[in-house]
């Protein structure tokens, strides 16, 4: 097979950063973060299966400042991945791929993430 020296396409650093690029990589980053969230889910279930003492330890960890920060990160990652994931499903059907719609749905994803996270925390802890 012969390789032809073709002109290469400009790479990432050539383009101006925008919300669409941030959301693209944040989708992957939040996906990886949710892998950590899965560990948290497993810990919760294992603690429940182990008995009241182990569950008390889990609750104490989650009620600490560090625990709250981790849970807030988990909630944000989950909501972002959910909202942007729904947009990805529409893109897969060929819908909303043009620049104007993408610019509009960027904002919808950010607002949806903030709103759903706020709702979850108001119900869960009575605070934002």
């Amino acid at each position: 097979m012969t390789t032809i020296k073709r002109p290469t396409s400009p790479h990432l650093q050539i383009y101006k950063w925008g919300a669409h690029m941030a959301l693209s990589i944040l989708h992957r980053a939040s996906g990886v973060a949710l892998g950590g969230g899965t560990l948290l889910l497993a810990w919760w279930l294992i603690a429940l299966a182990s008995g009241p003492d182990e569950y008390a330890l889990f609750q104490a960890c989650m009620r600490s400042i560090v625990g709250k920060i981790v849970l807030m990160g988990f909630t944000l990652a989950l909501m972002l991945h959910l909202c942007n994931g729904i947009r990805h499903l529409f893109w897969d059907m060929g819908k909303g791929l043009d620049v104007e719609t993408t610019a509009r749905t960027n904002i919808m994803v950010f607002l949806g993430t903030a709103l759903l996270t706020a709702i979850a925390w108001v119900i869960g802890y009575g605070l934002v």
């Binding site: 899965t38 889910l41 294992i46 009241p52 569950y55 729904i86 499903l89």
Partner: protein, 124 residues
């Protein structure tokens, strides 16, 4: 001597070597995860202040236990496919690629088995 053109040799094969199957499975899992995630979050936010016995009695009832098991299986399957794609995209050394793929599969399997066992122990 093969008369195949170079394009016909690679058609249907991405870096994962199995065409679109991986992508399609990822999408099916994603569709299922939309309602499951809404259910999961709506449920756990009510458990933040609940004591041990309240949470146990909730997870012992059939519907929450069944939904939790389905959520664990599909979410971890989706996680495994996603992490696999990230390694395929960004890791170019063959040894590192294989090592990470093994770790991802083993790690996801362990988390899934531990979570499923725990739910069954609570619910049964």
């Amino acid at each position: 001597m093969s008369f195949n053109t170079p394009i016909s040799k690679v058609r249907g094969l991405g870096s994962a070597r199995n065409g679109t199957h991986h992508w399609w499975m990822q999408k099916i899992a994603a569709v299922a995860l939309v309602p499951l995630t809404v259910w999961f979050v709506a449920s756990v936010v009510q458990m933040t202040k609940a004591d041990y016995f309240t949470v146990i009695s909730w997870l012992s009832s059939p519907i929450p236990a069944i939904l939790m098991l389905i959520y664990i299986v599909i979410a971890i399957y989706h996680l495994r496919l996603g992490l696999q794609a990230i390694v395929e995209d960004y890791i170019h050394s063959e040894g590192m690629k294989v090592g990470l793929q093994f770790s991802i599969l083993f790690g996801c399997t362990i988390i899934a088995v531990a979570s499923i066992f725990s739910v069954l122990k609570i619910a049964l």
